[in-house]
Symmetry: C2
């Protein structure tokens, strides 16, 4: 067991946490009262002493680190691209659960940088924050040797969350887009140390989140997960969490153990639907001109997916 799993297992043993399964946690409230999403400028000033931000009845919260030497190297990407990616990989957790990102808290560690370099980071953060209407409502800055972003994102849920649990027998499994580019870029970087903003590296530099698609299919999808560790790994999560095996389509590249499906940091959505919703799904994908890759289906009798991982 690696030290990170050991750390979490020990916390669970202490009784102060549970393995929740999902990247984010849903905070639900007793009464439902539809409210408008306000911007930070709509701070309620009726209570003179208070800085109120209105929030939604159901929130999703997720925290993640994006750290130099672990998740990125500074020589690989511009500081602006690093900051953009730090935001995107965190937003992905919230969006994949069918929540709309609203607020961010950033605890950032800044190494010795020049003013224009700090500005590059700020511009990257602000670019994505504006694109997704996210407001920074708190956080902390510290000095340190390595650049590190520790983000907590709060999202609002308008309807039911899309979780990792909920997979049912005979559900069909798909993922959005095409995967593999991230691993390709990573290998290129480890060989040559530099990538350009050319088309083939673009998705590694700036992942495309599928928020519009997710918000549409979440009403009937049974479960979903963003592909951060690779398709194999996420299928393994779903199989274990839902106590179901997964049978792969014979023709799928997955059944040939393609390298593509080991590619992490793709941030495409892996999801499951009931067979009766197949045509509905196809209509949605077609209307958005989004490629949907069939993977296989859940099966009580199918092998647990993890056996495949051990091949």
């Amino acid at each position: 067991m690696d030290k990170e799993r050991f750390f979490i297992q020990s916390l669970i043993k202490q009784g102060v946490t549970k393995k929740l399964g999902d990247d984010g946690v849903v905070l639900a409230f007793d009464t439902w009262n539809a409210t408008q999403y306000p911007n930070i400028s709509n701070i309620n000033t009726n209570t003179p002493n208070a800085k109120y931000l209105k929030a939604h009845k159901q929130l999703v919260i997720a925290s993640d680190g994006f750290c130099e030497g672990i998740h990125f190297r500074r020589e690989w990407l511009s500081l602006k691209d690093i900051a953009k990616k730090a935001m995107l990989v965190n937003l992905s957790d919230i969006i994949a659960m069918n929540a709309i990102p609203k607020y961010a808290l950033l605890s950032i560690t800044l190494p010795n940088l020049l003013a224009f370099e700090i500005l590059e980071i700020v511009q990257g953060l602000a670019y994505i924050a504006k694109k997704y209407n996210v407001v920074f409502i708190g956080g902390d800055t510290t000095s340190g040797q390595n650049l590190a972003f520790h983000l907590s994102i709060i999202g609002a849920l308008e309807s039911k969350p899309l979780l990792r649990t909920g997979l049912q027998n005979k559900d069909l499994l798909y993922h959005t887009g095409k995967v593999g580019q991230s691993l390709y870029a990573l290998k290129w970087l480890l060989r040559s140390g530099k990538i350009s903003r050319s088309k083939r590296f673009l998705r590694f530099i700036e992942p495309t989140l599928r928020e519009k698609f997710i918000y549409k299919v979440a009403s009937f999808a049974h479960c979903g997960i963003d592909i951060s560790d690779g398709v194999y790994s996420e299928l393994n999560h779903l199989s274990t969490l839902n106590h179901l095996g997964i049978k792969l389509h014979k023709k799928s590249r997955l059944s040939q153990l393609s390298r593509h499906f080991l590619s992490g940091e793709e941030y495409e959505l892996l999801f499951a639907i009931a067979p009766k919703h197949k045509h509905k799904l196809m209509r949605i994908a077609k209307s958005m001109r989004l490629h949907i890759q069939p993977i296989g289906y859940a099966s009580k009798r199918g092998k647990k997916y993890k056996t495949l991982l051990w091949h």
Copy 2:
């Protein structure tokens, strides 16, 4: 301007954040419905797919980093004590705003440690989490050279939050407890490199939070702030934020620019009340056997406190 302020100023210029003043931000909901605080074991299983945590109508959220080399050195304290302090300094922000800590999200960077050392960290985190009934609902673990805790704490507000704004002319200013020990311990550490768990260092190792006192006085206190940077510094914050000067009691040690009031990381509460509530305050303090130190009062004509800082 240091790089950390420059970072925040630049984010403000980009329009994606505001200087909110307080350590935490209040998330308020439209309708008030008193609910019980559930524990993590009360996860609502009515919705089969969901991992729901019930939450309160008003939340306070704060994020803070507690990092090796910046906030602590590993040779100064045991790993258990470091982990306890990481929790306490973050809980302090929530408690100082009159909120009850409920949930924590931890993004932790772990250096190369042995299993028993990781267990020490977990024990420290769990000790404080259990003491304050806080549950870890999310987070992330990464590897890195330096140990760093990035915590987001979510607290529930049962009544109005205690903010840094709200100071009124002629309000009386106090702080809880006695300050100075933290600076003393720090100087000792910088000289000798080691402290014991003796009485004079105990508050540096494990700050005493004043939750019971705060929850009682918050109903009539006009503003409050936890002393993390020192009494001088916090008075300066209050003075600037509230556009009021502060006149010091002539006999107070503060007016003699005592080193005690430069001591940060005290986590005592600095707060203000209307003069008419003085006796009520004294009764509460006496019933809790808590020392309350008078500092001075707010004055329209008094010098802005910051001029004192420049002496």
